[in-house]
Symmetry: D3
Subunit: 319 residues, 6 copies
Amino acid sequence: MVHKYAPVDSQQSPRFTGVKTFMRLPHVRTEEEIDFAVVGVPFDTGGSFAVGTRFGPEAVRSMSSLLRPYNPGLDIDIFAYCSGVDYGDFAVNPGYIEESYQLIEEQLAKLLKHRVVPILIGGDHSVTLPHLRAMAKQYGKVSLVHFDSHGDTWDAYFGKKYTHGTVFRRAAEEELVDPSRSIQIGMRGSLYGPSDLKDGEALGYRIITTDQLRQLTPKELREAIVQRVGDNPVFVSFDVDFLDPVYAPGTGTPEIGGFATFEAQQYVRNLTGLHIVGFDVVEVLPDRDPARVTSLAAANIAYEFISLVAWGKRANGGL
Amino acid sequence: MVHKYAPVDSQQSPRFTGVKTFMRLPHVRTEEEIDFAVVGVPFDTGGSFAVGTRFGPEAVRSMSSLLRPYNPGLDIDIFAYCSGVDYGDFAVNPGYIEESYQLIEEQLAKLLKHRVVPILIGGDHSVTLPHLRAMAKQYGKVSLVHFDSHGDTWDAYFGKKYTHGTVFRRAAEEELVDPSRSIQIGMRGSLYGPSDLKDGEALGYRIITTDQLRQLTPKELREAIVQRVGDNPVFVSFDVDFLDPVYAPGTGTPEIGGFATFEAQQYVRNLTGLHIVGFDVVEVLPDRDPARVTSLAAANIAYEFISLVAWGKRANGGL
Amino acid sequence: MVHKYAPVDSQQSPRFTGVKTFMRLPHVRTEEEIDFAVVGVPFDTGGSFAVGTRFGPEAVRSMSSLLRPYNPGLDIDIFAYCSGVDYGDFAVNPGYIEESYQLIEEQLAKLLKHRVVPILIGGDHSVTLPHLRAMAKQYGKVSLVHFDSHGDTWDAYFGKKYTHGTVFRRAAEEELVDPSRSIQIGMRGSLYGPSDLKDGEALGYRIITTDQLRQLTPKELREAIVQRVGDNPVFVSFDVDFLDPVYAPGTGTPEIGGFATFEAQQYVRNLTGLHIVGFDVVEVLPDRDPARVTSLAAANIAYEFISLVAWGKRANGGL
Amino acid sequence: MVHKYAPVDSQQSPRFTGVKTFMRLPHVRTEEEIDFAVVGVPFDTGGSFAVGTRFGPEAVRSMSSLLRPYNPGLDIDIFAYCSGVDYGDFAVNPGYIEESYQLIEEQLAKLLKHRVVPILIGGDHSVTLPHLRAMAKQYGKVSLVHFDSHGDTWDAYFGKKYTHGTVFRRAAEEELVDPSRSIQIGMRGSLYGPSDLKDGEALGYRIITTDQLRQLTPKELREAIVQRVGDNPVFVSFDVDFLDPVYAPGTGTPEIGGFATFEAQQYVRNLTGLHIVGFDVVEVLPDRDPARVTSLAAANIAYEFISLVAWGKRANGGL
Amino acid sequence: MVHKYAPVDSQQSPRFTGVKTFMRLPHVRTEEEIDFAVVGVPFDTGGSFAVGTRFGPEAVRSMSSLLRPYNPGLDIDIFAYCSGVDYGDFAVNPGYIEESYQLIEEQLAKLLKHRVVPILIGGDHSVTLPHLRAMAKQYGKVSLVHFDSHGDTWDAYFGKKYTHGTVFRRAAEEELVDPSRSIQIGMRGSLYGPSDLKDGEALGYRIITTDQLRQLTPKELREAIVQRVGDNPVFVSFDVDFLDPVYAPGTGTPEIGGFATFEAQQYVRNLTGLHIVGFDVVEVLPDRDPARVTSLAAANIAYEFISLVAWGKRANGGL
Amino acid sequence: MVHKYAPVDSQQSPRFTGVKTFMRLPHVRTEEEIDFAVVGVPFDTGGSFAVGTRFGPEAVRSMSSLLRPYNPGLDIDIFAYCSGVDYGDFAVNPGYIEESYQLIEEQLAKLLKHRVVPILIGGDHSVTLPHLRAMAKQYGKVSLVHFDSHGDTWDAYFGKKYTHGTVFRRAAEEELVDPSRSIQIGMRGSLYGPSDLKDGEALGYRIITTDQLRQLTPKELREAIVQRVGDNPVFVSFDVDFLDPVYAPGTGTPEIGGFATFEAQQYVRNLTGLHIVGFDVVEVLPDRDPARVTSLAAANIAYEFISLVAWGKRANGGL
């Protein structure tokens, strides 16, 4: 492959200039000659409390201007090993969940057919269901690595099956993921009842709560994940409310007592070597993010995802 | 009637105290012994651009603490002539428009059956359709007096018929309103095409654009309205984007070049004597209202609505 | 007099530099060789709704950096005719109204003894009572010219006589002002009862409501004021809620339907030739002023006050 | 007891709907059939720096909508063991400390007489004095467990004995608390002099500074508290400035170098088994809380308090 | 010409989706087959007070999503008559004015050579100098139509000739504009001295102050402009501080007493028929624009500029 | 020396009163009878991304009102051992780096000649170059102790040698610092390439990255510093982006994964006993600091610097 697509050189034009694409990547709607594509999924009809994550991709792109191509945490010069674009946003139908699910799935399928690794930026967590539908069609049942303060395995809200709180029950029911090879990490906060956490386990997921994670080193977490997912194709879903509300106030359902970005970076960086086929980072709500720390954090999480793609390329003789 | 329900006395407990109800009215879910009920309709799935008006009722209630019971603009001591409550919010099903429409219509019907005048606080403008459905069931085809920068008579968004931009086409099609006895006031802003305004007229509405309204005195506007609606039952719908964005930045689709609150007060106060059977004020989006001027304006518009109810009571021997 | 005190030259150091004094005036606690003194009165215990005007002087000073010494509206080069300082803030005792009243009165008396014209920056409107007490001791009963959306002539709040809402009743009772030679301008907004406005008139004040003022030109307002106050010593009190909430969101009890800064400038500039012995501008609440427009407006109002001092000096052969 | 009062079911109406009460509890002014009552104490005249905590109860109620009835941290389903209401706010007299103290004490006494555990939401810290007066009348000298960055044991501000900085000196002098069985936790920040901390100890309190607390585990802190208070009736007072300013920017006198919400949760959850008869959480200042993290934190602290009430009920055979 | 470039169809993908370009135009760096190009000029080193207008283009693009292709004010369906792109931003060298001037001039020259009408979005007002340099090279001395609260004809700041306050003196000295066929509109605010306004007139400009403009109808202003500029090539420069600070708080040097967007729209729409060869709108400072009204206003001003381009095309048989 | 200058007594006038100087110190432009001077350096033309740090000194002064004279962390009553003033701001020439460098150097030299320890408050990090130029002239090559997330040792931005990102390369080249006796602490975040960190080491600096620092105790960091700087004169430069973005959102180029204020306090307090001759704290950008936590943190860092001055005085028999 010719490594064709890389960010604008910040020594030629300052980082604050230009139409805002993720990390100043070229905005090209192509599936060719790329290893990854950053895609906005500005859908927020699935939100149960505060809404407005449809503006998440814009905010994340804006703060991503600060990212530079060499990641010292993984000692990798990203674009020496891979090529990627800002693919723009998927079309969605605001106010209509099922129609939007279909639109998202179709558009994502096109990328997956070309074995492009998608870096999807929500939108609320309801979009992960069409992400997983497209994944499963391409790769079969995937392993889920899910960072979140909520398990999102409720059965329904107000009688409705599709919301940002029911995604991973649906994913299990629809056999998009293999819960027995999946893991949910970071659950905390008040619940509707004692069964809420057990429900996730009943579906087959392994759950590591915030209280449990605080007892683990990043390496130990990595081991727990590796043990769980093995060499199965993996989808990583990162809800910014995994972070503490001071690191991610701009989100729909914040829960106090969460993690710092420093910790999240460590956890994500330790996913090297997994067979990851897709990522999403969701629930950035810019209207509740006055100091922009949430979109800055999400941009950095997406950057770690891209770094993992590059790491995989290098490991497999990507150069 | 015993005039039972009136605001807490602000000489007994300061206006900043207490669980926030509209204008410090008692929060009672009753249809009895009241002339009006203030009701929140926190539904925002119909919004096409910025969303979050589900928090509109909370914000409007908060700023309404500043309202006092005597309206010098209409020289009326409201609770000498009428009784009212904060009824709370209607239940809605976020993310599901048609289900929510049904819920809203049913809950509103209960109030209308008791001839209570509802003062409905949105929510995005899509909620006006179930408001009108309930109205039409109770009163037959009503006259619409509609303050807005947009006509909201588009046919569909992305193939879908129910959004905040299609309400008054649906209302005409469903024969909930009589367009030939209705009026839309304040249209302005860029359009998708030259037919956009003509569409409303083709449906039968009379339209007074912002440019035209600037040529009229409040009295002349009143005359135009009276001529149009006669003694038909009237529903008044006030979208806060009728106001200029500096008076109402907290809204989903602001349009520059709009009206001041001073003007809006004059227009609404001149609706005395109409046979008004219901009101709504919609599209308050608190997350985009950092100085709270939008919710303050909306609280005052709702207050003028209540004053009109009291005025009607007095005119009809309400004492 | 040697004209000693004038702002720092903005061609020598940019306007954003330096410890923030009003209009970049020297901060000197002197009563000598000055015509006016800008003084902060950071007291807000008298506020009945939103509080925090203790930070008003700081915010007004910050935005006053933008002011330049020549006022084209009055065609006057201020420091060609007068000398002034930023005197700093009066000491107050937060939480204790009567003690603070005494402190304020004593500190102000010192300035008045030297015939310095004070430009007082609140603080909430309760501080105008000690301002008037000091004024009356020095000058006898003064004429009040009062711009506000509220008359502030309530008798008591919760049984207490000293708050920001009772100041001008107290001032009349204590014979600090001569209501028969005083005027209140701009009253509007909902009231507790129909008697609220009549109360002010019963005390002897002339009241021009917002509705009435909208029918007058600035010249006609000037005539009404001149006719009322004659050549009596005048105290001008400007509550920023005279302005519409979009021009002054940062205030404790905003009322919609108010005036623009353009209008306020005209009204104040038309006070030339009156025998004004003191000014205050009150009720700036920075924590509710996210775009800083309120403190910018208040700084400009204070600037017009200073311009009036210079105008008087020039008229009386000040050069 | 019939367990009568519990939150609205969030599966019936979404959490963003309804008049905002704490945790969506019914707003009933009753002392009967309840174990606890959440009460707002919107008084802020005692604040020495930034003010506006009178809006604290409203902000805390707003964010408390996110709370769910099962607390996994204590493994307790709250309303299986207890009943509670949002009692509304106590009436206060803004600007008048001593009168407000009397009002607060009287209203609280009524609840205590019925052995209801109050969860009081300030307001500035000056309100804890009337809280303790009522407590002491009901229970005799109580033990204080006090989380704060300041000891609040100054003697006076500007000659005045009642402010938010003198509460716990007054409480000791008035013999409302037994300092020898009380503890102050979290003191840090610059002081007026080296004696400031020693003053608290001279009054008899045990003080654990922030520096000391960082050396303790939550269990060790618990032991220190238990050892101190024994089985005495305990009042827990939590000033949000115990938290670091990034977790609680919305407060009057923030001090850097403080605790995370994660830590505070651990400390409070470890108070199980104490004989707690009342709680307050104070100093939430919404106008300085743009991302709402402070009110979210305070709502969660109050939630932990309620959980402790439920825990006590269960432990004593509450079911 | 084939009309090639027009906005994305908002019936296909909602207006909130996609990489943010002005008005959802394609982002293509071409000079071919276009009538106009929207270009960001993110340079702010020339600002004398608040800075940060380098983020102006991003903010204006964001709010421009709300614009639709038909302008009812001029009754024109823009893309029926013309083609245009979002050209992206010009490269600049932050911190280095003269180097940036050269960069801007060169990049703009390329567009002008193809007779593309540039719609330039600042940046601070210092960028208008290189705009005019490029204009003059292409078209000879142009006529300036300049909307602003400041004349920007100071000689120097701190000894330096290039800042946002000296642009139009430099432009006259460098013979880029013909002052005798140019006009400055809207000057107001305090000045450094009485000569400040006369200086502009001494350079040959006609000045219409804010006070004078308030006496003119939009038609009368048009006549004054037409009389001045005749059929000379015109450059229109619009500083958002022409607007009142409530309409444009997000700017470096706001002046109270300014114009509403309604008025500005009228003034700009009345420029039809002039031979306009370029436009800029400058001084949008997003960090001081919490409610985004400034960037919304600027987006609309740029939209009126584009509409004038289309109007000219239609008038000249553009179809 | 007579210890002449100390803060206003906060028992006499509340901390929120008065013209805002750092820590309520007297604002006197003297070099006599003082041990330290707090100086604002409001220059921000060197910023490569977000700008506006010219308002940093104002914001830091505002929050510094909260500081009290006894520092329990170092057990020192500052003004028992030293005297200091708020010297105001240095004059700068915005938009002109080299001219401003010269101005800053000259003004600082005057203080250094009197052996006053400067506490300099930026401004962006580009100002540290003139700080070091003045230092080197007075003291010879100094040792640098540099807290930052960036090394600021790039060679140039867009061909220009003076920006906030090139300062410490210039300082080495100009032989202002002795890199072999200097240390840079806290580097993290994405880079332009793998050589970025090595570049600093190639210049001779020792670098302790964030990842490395997390493995050290404050004592161990102290040892590393002491070993490096010995008894050489030391200049301490603290960029607030050393802190995590949640502690310092108000800065130009935030990097996630940083330090808490608690940690920064520990690191700075452990600098006792070094021969420190000057300090700066830079990169506070108030327009991006909505909760004011950044300026609060910076004020506290400056306070620790002053405490170190006092500690030194005490150690050397300062009393």
